[in-house]
Amino acid sequence: MFRTRRAGLLAALLAVVAWGPLVGCGVQETAVIDAGRPAVADLLPPREGRMLLFFYSPSGELLPVPRIVEAPWPVPAEGADGPDARAAVTALLAGPDTAERRAGLRSAPSLPRSASAADRVVTDGPTVEVRLRLRVARLPAPARDQLVCTAAFAAHAQGAVSVSLVGQDERLAPADCPLRPVPAPVR
């Protein structure tokens, strides 16, 4: 009968209305949701006791990797052509040490492993010039970034300098480290 059918329809509607919101009860899965600022801490040893090298993580991110130095080296004056920068570049070109390799850190494959390639680092105002006994023209971007960042952070605490790589073949245009420090969020 039509009337019975309509009543059935009504009951079904009622059930849907009643149980629709309740069927999704309990705790649902969500997508990935932004949870606000990251954690910020002082992870690095004091500037005096470390060199800051830049290696790539296994997933390809360029990371600052501190390496403790045995003898504290004096923090060079601003603009000085300190051995600190040259030492950092030298250490970078030597590649990650055992502990760093164990942690999966590595250099870009295109970066030559020749510690002696670092000639000297000249600081000239906002620009640091890194002279290398290498051919830099064909150096790919990941390798260049490692060199640029290491030199920049060695020369300047916040890495806020441009770095020009000068090879045996040519001089590259000054470049900034792609890893720009961001203002640390206030707690």
């Binding site: 705790v27 949870a35 890495g159």
Partner: protein, 507 residues
């Protein structure tokens, strides 16, 4: 007078209550559902926000320094895990290819690749709710930034901390919410049943009054009215009903008046015709006797007048009789007679004995008005002799507690289309004999007389040809039970030899 079963099963009351309950259910469930959702979201949001904020705080406090010491890393994670808020969590750390956790496995099966990708690539923290094996977890991915110099700017350190927190308590809380919503809604519905029934009653009371009134009007009490209360739709309906009833009553009264006037007119006309007819009829014989001495044309005219006067007198008498039935003034004077003797006398009085075959068994004693029974039999036999063909048969028999009188002829029968109207007044089954010797009222009068006795009169065609009229009269006479609305009047002439004067309605 009961409505069909389906309507009862799904009556107005049921529908009203159901509709009320439906509305109550929908609102209760909707409210419960919305409340539940809000509460659930609040519970979850609070738990998540607390967890994210405290996880970030603890991470910042207890994060291990770089370069990372894989062996000491776990101790830092234990510190963070020990300060879990609001619920215990397990902390996982990823740095390069280093994996560590505060739990017994360095890698979590709950953390999704999406969250890990977001934690690595996004500058912000992320969280994700994951349901695994029916259990809900809150997973938080927190990248750790490190300041390059103390108090200075920060860069990503490559270290990512994760927290995996089972949401068991939240699940319990939320289940409790569902239970509370359900347990609140169902009694609410039960409580809603009471106002539903009350509302249905208040709506149904006027409906019931309306039904009673309509029924009463259908029963003929046209003066039925409904009390009008309030100003709602039901009051409008009642008012409309009352107006319609008043108009109907008025119309019916007008019709009745008109019918009464028409009947009175017919009665008055016959009365007025009767007096001059009485004079004319008294001298009709004179005309007949002297017609022979007149010229041929005059003689024919005189005889015509005489014959037509006789017919006119019969017609007027029949009209008067019908008028008395219409005015319900027909009186029944019953007597107990022998049916066969009565029929024989009817036939012999009219010199029909030679023309009619009879089957009249003796011994049927019946209470009836002999004069009216005589009229019935005479009209039926007369009709059969006039319109049917001889032989005409009159047969008496008994069927149950009724006397059956059958009058049958061997003529062509009654035309089928005429059959339903055969007892109508002045109905002429055949135009060709529209001017027969009958008044045209004979069968109508016969039927009225039979009805007056509480009996029935039927006409039909018999298979062998010819028309059959069947009269059934109760042996006991018209009982008060079968009487019309007027009922039988008190008997007159108590000293009479068992005669009963019974006044009965004509129809």
């Amino acid at each position: 007078m009961r409505p069909p079963a389906a309507t009862v099963a799904f009556g107005l009351r049921t529908r009203l209550v159901l509709a009320f309950l439906l509305v109550a259910a929908v609102s209760a469930v909707t409210t419960a559902a919305l409340t539940y959702r809000e509460a659930r979201n609040a519970v979850l949001t609070r738990a998540q926000d607390t967890a994210v904020v405290s996880f970030r705080e603890e991470a910042e406090r207890f994060v291990p320094g770089l370069p990372l010491d894989p062996d000491g890393l776990r101790w830092h994670l234990y510190d963070i895990a020990a300060r879990a808020k609001p619920h215990p969590w397990i902390v996982f750390a990823e740095y390069g290819s280093v994996r560590a956790s505060s739990g017994d496995r360095p890698v979590s099966g709950v953390l999704t690749e999406e969250l890990r990708r977001a934690a690595r690539t996004s500058p912000n923290g992320s969280f994700e709710r994951v349901v695994k094996d029916g259990k809900a977890y809150l997973t938080i991915g927190m990248p750790v930034l490190t300041r390059v110099v103390a108090g200075g700017r920060a860069v990503p350190s490559g270290l990512v901390l994760y927290a995996v927190m089972p949401m068991t308590n939240e699940e319990v809380d939320i289940d409790a919410l569902v239970t509370a919503a359900r347990d609140g809604a169902l009694p609410g519905l039960a409580v809603a049943l009471v106002p539903a029934l009350l509302a249905a009653r208040s709506v149904l009371r006027p409906v019931r009054a309306l039904r009673r009134a309509a029924h009463s009007m259908g029963g003929g009490r046209l003066d039925t009215r409904i009390p009008v209360r309030g100003r709602d739709e039901m009051a409008d309906l009642a008012r409309t009903f009352n107006e319609s009833a008043a108009r109907l009553e008025h119309s019916v009264q007008e019709l009745r008046d008109a019918g009464g006037r028409a009947r009175r007119f017919a009665s008055d006309v016959s009365h007025e015709l009767r007096t001059p007819l009485a004079g004319m009829l008294a001298v009709a014989d004179v005309l007949d006797e002297d017609a022979g001495e007149l010229g041929p044309d005059t003689a024919r005219a005189v005889r015509l007048i005489s014959a037509e006067t006789t017919k006119l007198a019969v017609l007027v008498e029949d009209l008067m009789e019908i008028s008395r039935f219409d005015a319900r003034a027909a009186e029944l004077t019953t007597d107990e007679v022998d049916a066969a003797e009565s029929v024989r006398n009817t036939l012999s009085d009219r010199q029909w004995l030679g023309r009619v075959r009879t089957e009249l068994p003796d011994g049927f004693r019946i209470r009836l008005d002999p004069r009216r029974f005589d009229v019935v039999v005479a009209n039926l036999v007369g009709n059969a002799l006039r319109h049917g063909a001889e032989p005409v048969t009159v047969r008496l028999s008994k069927r149950g507690d009724a006397l059956v009188t059958e009058v049958r002829d061997c003529g062509p029968g009654i035309a089928p289309e005429a059959l339903p109207h055969i007892f109508d007044r002045f109905y002429k089954a055949d135009d060709a004999r529209s001017r027969s010797t009958g008044s045209g009222l004979g069968l109508a009068i016969a039927e009225e007389n039979v009805t007056l006795h509480g009996g029935t009169l039927r006409a039909e065609n018999v298979p062998g040809g010819g028309a059959l009229f069947t009269v059934e009269l109760p042996f006991e006479g018209p009982t008060s039970g079968s009487g019309g609305p007027d009922g039988p009047a008190a008997g007159e002439g108590s000293e009479a030899a068992d005669s009963r004067g019974v006044k009965r309605s004509g129809r």
